[in-house]
């Protein structure tokens, strides 16, 4: 298991197999990072819930047609914001009529985060970028 080059410079970076039990591990990594950064409890909970939703999307949807693959998450601290990226190498986000979920994952992430972007990285990975306020309570919009 290795970390992608995209996570160079991240305060926290984690890679593990995309399995249901991996979601809680990623959630704990983000919670611990928030505690270490001195963020308010309410914001840590928002970040943890958002990253849990993004990680769950990877587990449920990303590798449904294949043998599985990695779930990767990275966290960066800037002057006024926290950025989290969740990555996978699966089929990307597409409408799914047989989805076992309620379809509220991305809307929930959008509600919790100040900014959300869905990107395809240069290495082909699908990325969910989320931005949250920093320790001063305000994220820096770009």
């Amino acid at each position: 298991m290795s970390l992608p080059a995209a996570f160079a410079g991240a305060e926290v970076a984690i890679a593990l197999d995309a399995l249901p039990e991996s979601v809680a591990v990623v959630r704990q990594a983000v919670t611990g990072a928030g505690e270490g950064a001195g963020l308010p409890v309410g914001q840590i909970e928002d970040m943890a819930l958002a990253v849990s939703e993004a990680a769950t999307n990877v587990v449920v949807h990303a590798y449904r047609d294949g043998p599985g693959g990695p779930l990767e998450a990275g966290l960066w601290l800037d002057a006024g914001s926290v950025s989290i990226v969740v990555r996978d190498y699966g089929g990307g986000i597409a409408p799914r009529t047989d989805s076992p979920g309620l379809g509220v994952g991305l809307p929930l992430i959008s509600t919790l985060a100040d900014r959300v972007e869905l990107l395809t990285a240069a290495d082909g990975a699908n990325e969910v970028h989320m931005r949250f306020p920093g320790a001063d309570g305000a994220s820096q919009a770009t």
């Binding site: 305060e11 399995l19 809680a24």
Partner: protein, 147 residues
Amino acid sequence: MSAAPVELEARPGHRLRLEVSTGTMAKPVLERVVTLFAARTGLAVDRLSEIVLALDALRERAPELVAADRLGLDLRIEPGCVDVGVGPLLAEPARRLLAEHELPAAGAVIAGTADEARLRDTTSREARLDLRFEGVAAAVPAPEPAG
């Protein structure tokens, strides 16, 4: 009769790579991630606490052990066993660490908690520290038959 050592392929879900900056995030991230991941082995809570204790001792020394302010861990688990690869580390500080024999030095804490601790892939500049923590996996009681 002897057999060549076999490198067992880790089963899905039994390996993890974590890198964390050596600042204030390292302690809570390591405690939370390692405890939750290692708990899958079924080891007793006391043994899990010893693993966290050993890695916390390493974390405290991380500023002198790593070159880029990032502590990297590779965790691999099997029932009753946790393997932790730490690195890359600076070779000479890592050698000094393992030579520490008196508590509360980190090397002594590691020696007192890990079943194995050895350096590998050592060059003049870098090394990796392999730690193995073993224990008795907790027995899971069989469910009571219905009716």
